[in-house]
């Protein structure tokens, strides 16, 4: 079975990556409707600066 068919069967998980422009800290969270790359994200957990969304991608859920 190809990887594409495998993805079909198991639902992909979509994540948003927020990156702090000041300290470079990356945070991974679940995608929310309205997210887009370059949009301002939440506060950086390390330095408190406003983060930027740098990536949105999907991956297969970890195997149990």
């Amino acid at each position: 079975m190809s990887s594409s068919s495998q993805e079909h069967k198991s639902k992909l998980l979509v994540f948003t990556i927020e990156e702090c422009p000041a300290c470079g800290q990356k945070t991974k969270r679940a995608f929310q409707v309205g997210d887009f790359v370059t949009r301002d994200g939440g506060r950086c957990p390390k330095c408190g600066n406003t983060t930027k969304i740098t990536m949105i991608y999907a991956e297969l859920p970890p195997k149990a």
């Binding site: 079909h8 992909l12 790359v37 370059t38 949105i56 991608y57 999907a58």
Partner: protein, 370 residues
């Protein structure tokens, strides 16, 4: 036992078996092709049913999207059904001279018409919603067309008893279903406004454009000017986070011919369909205009680069059709750092300080701002 049977029925069983063999060979010889056609028509019929289910689902999704926007003026069903049969008549190519201009005119007219109609169906909606509605409508139209064409050849093959037509249709059905499957899976990604695999070019371009002033240089196309190691870098992408592809060809032509920017190099980043066996997210480097579509933008880029003697470098991120039009996979996203390193290396190796370089992120920019 066989001897017993022979005695009981007064027949030689071996001869009987031989006769049966001969009869079956004769039957297969005479009716074999018909039997094969019977099996093939059954297979095509099942595939056609799958296509019908996909077509109906995409139509329903389109209607639901317009209705759920809460801004539709009346029931959009009839208008959407009319859109599913919307045709674009390609220009005559007996004399190909000047055909690109005609193609551009026709596709521009179609795009403007679709956008205006969608705008009327969901008035006062934000541009992202309108672009998503356009994309969903395009998917539904494509699936409707695929279903209609397959049904046409299936019925024609049956009607005219054309075995060869049915054989050919059966042979290409797995690829047709694969494409249809990719299209129907793309609907969810578009509805949620998530970046697609094809958006890797715009994602990379957006990194170079962040916090810079942008100017519109073509329909749905924006550009920012920055500096990289002594070179002036012109960065181009379709305007996001809407689901646009923009007009990079027109934009590059405008930059060189109207704005008189003497470019020393053009770097294009795009998604490319991988061959079976290639890994998703593999990065390939080369030369030439890395852009798909109907060919208008590619023609314009090749035209301007060849007349002005501007080298065009291409960086491609490999992916399947399904991955290109559905939510961006991790492997593709992870290739972005590698691509950025490659872009920087190309700029450093192929240009010198003071040069002017254009970086174009090609692809659908849904879910990717700038």
């Amino acid at each position: 036992m066989l001897a017993g049977l022979s005695l009981q029925f007064g027949v030689d069983v071996n001869s009987l078996i031989n006769v049966l063999w001969l009869v079956s060979i004769l039957v297969f010889f005479v009716y074999g092709q018909r039997l094969q056609v019977y099996i093939i028509t059954g297979e095509i019929s099942r595939a056609l049913n799958r296509l019908k289910v996909m077509r109906d689902k995409s139509r329903k999704e389109a209607i639901d999207y317009f209705t759920s926007s809460g801004k539709t003026t009346g029931d959009p069903t009839q208008r959407i059904d009319e859109f599913l049969d919307y045709v674009t008549i390609m220009p005559v190519d007996m004399d190909p001279n000047g055909i690109v201009g005609k193609l551009q005119h026709i596709t521009n007219t179609r795009d403007e018409r679709v956008r205006a109609e969608v705008g009327q169906l969901i008035p006062n909606s934000d541009p992202t919603k309108v672009s998503v509605a356009e994309n969903i409508l395009e998917i539904a139209t494509s699936l409707n067309q695929i279903h209609k064409i397959v049904r046409h050849y299936y019925l024609l093959g049956k009607k005219t008893n054309s075995y060869m037509l049915l054989f050919q249709l059966q042979m290409i059905m797995p690829m047709v279903l694969q494409e249809a499957d990719a299209l129907i899976n793309a609907v969810d990604t578009f509805k949620l406004g998530q970046p697609v695999g094809d958006g890797i070019g715009p994602v990379i371009a957006s990194r170079y454009m962040l916090n810079l002033p942008k100017q519109v240089v073509g329909k749905d196309t924006v550009m920012a000017v920055t500096e990289y190691k002594g070179r002036t870098l012109y960065v181009l992408k379709a305007e996001g986070p809407m689901g646009y592809v923009g007009e990079p060809g027109v934009a590059i032509q405008k930059l060189v011919e109207e704005m008189k920017v003497p470019l020393n190099a053009i770097i294009m980043v795009d998604a490319a369909l991988k061959l079976e066996g290639e890994k998703t997210g593999e990065v390939a480097e080369g030369v030439g205009a890395a852009i798909g579509g109907i060919g208008v933008d590619k023609f314009k880029i090749e035209e301007v680069s060849s007349t002005q003697k501007i080298p065009v470098y291409a960086i491609l991120v490999k992916q399947s059709l399904l991955e290109a039009i559905t939510i961006m996979r991790k492997e593709i996203a992870e290739a972005s750092d590698k691509v950025q390193t490659l872009i920087n290396r190309v700029i450093e190796e192929k240009t010198k300080e003071g040069d002017k370089v254009l970086l174009a992120g090609i692809g659908n920019t849904l879910g990717v701002g700038q």
